[in-house]
Symmetry: C2
Subunit: 230 residues, 2 copies
């Protein structure tokens, strides 16, 4: 089910939305469709980037490992998103790893192909620039919240982030299967601490859990707890 760029679901929303039909065809001829199992490494911290990934399906975490083995998630990536462009632009080694949180499919576009495209299509280049500015803003938000908010608030925020990132069906109650370990490295705290506050949220009827699956029952309460708007 190797998808074609010209008929891709994300043709009008991805980084390549301003590509001509010709450019898309060219991309399509030179891309490489890849499948990753849950937990599999897509690229690894310290390696040289060979190109760009365009996620077609699944969930990906971008994270860095500390010397003590602790992990910090920097960004969550969903289908339609681009992955691995920062190192490519900077022409540096990957400073973080990308790991599939679910079975994931992604197209790979070589560095030369990518560079040629941004050199030849000004719109793509300026979309890329805006994307960088947006991601920089998001990262600054994360930094500030990490420095200023207690874990309980950050956990509420993380759950809302997961919902806003991965809830496409907009079903009544959003559910996601995520290990407490992964959740704790999004929040930037210890696994046990996440579990404790999750238990609080359960008692308060804000979420429910079944194994590693978390269901958000009261997003409004989470928004309140996160104090994102004050």
């Amino acid at each position: 089910m190797n998808p074609s760029c010209n008929t891709c679901e994300f043709k009008n929303s991805s980084l390549f939305k301003n590509c001509s039909s010709d450019e898309l065809n060219h991309l399509n001829d030179n891309k490489c469709f890849n499948v990753y199992k849950k937990g599999q490494v897509i690229f690894h911290e310290g390696n040289r980037p060979l190109g760009l990934f365009c996620v077609f399906n699944g969930k990906v975490k971008v994270s860095r490992l500390g010397s003590d083995g602790k992990e910090q998630v920097i960004r969550l990536v969903k289908k339609g998103d681009t992955l691995g462009y920062r190192s490519l632009i900077e022409n540096s080694k990957y400073s973080a790893s990308a790991i599939a949180l679910d079975d994931t499919e992604a197209c790979f576009i070589s560095a030369s192909e990518f560079n040629h495209l941004i050199d030849s299509n000004v719109k793509v280049a300026s979309d890329l620039m805006r994307m960088l500015a947006k991601v920089l803003g998001d990262t600054q938000d994360k930094l500030v919240h990490l420095a200023m908010k207690p874990v309980r608030e950050r956990l509420a925020e993380a759950l809302l982030l997961l919902k806003s990132t991965y809830d496409d069906k907009k079903s009544e109650h959003f559910s996601i299967s995520i290990s407490r370990e992964d959740l704790s490295s999004i929040v930037g705290t210890a696994k046990e601490t996440v579990i404790r506050f999750l238990s609080e949220f359960k008692e308060e009827g804000i979420v429910s859990t079944r194994g590693s699956e978390i269901t958000i029952l009261r997003a409004d309460k989470l928004l309140q707890i996160s104090s994102l708007y004050d």
Copy 2:
């Protein structure tokens, strides 16, 4: 002493290093030279950006204020650096404030001037893109360190950052006058905690202080403590 773009000290190192002489002249005719006293606000969180700042002299902190009044410094800006481009690119309100840490001089370039330049000169646009990628990488580093390192290590890192950013004379011992309040909001901790660890560093002969002036005596020790390389 309104400096001219064509003879500016940073002509070959700034974001505008790839501008033609004509473009620089045009910039020069349309820029506006501003002076800010220590502590003065250059731009304020929540306001609409009207243009770009190019710092000619001085020191600037870019920071965000939490609802509880606590401040987190996102970035330190030195002479030759550009300031306020993220909001401009994203076409959004400032998400942070810029405040002079010292008496500062900066040229202001209007948004239309800036946009015209990056539309007409591809090299400037791609330099800007690389700059964004670089700053994003730096911010991710800060995020990870904030999440994983204890205050003592982050303080060592902050002192090294101040040195690498503001030490131009490369004199034997770098000194900087900075309030403990400002230092603590770079590190992301409380003022008293910074003071305590600074006292430790003094006892260990790593730094010395006189009032609010801090002198780094053993940068090598700080590098060790910061554990930046493991």
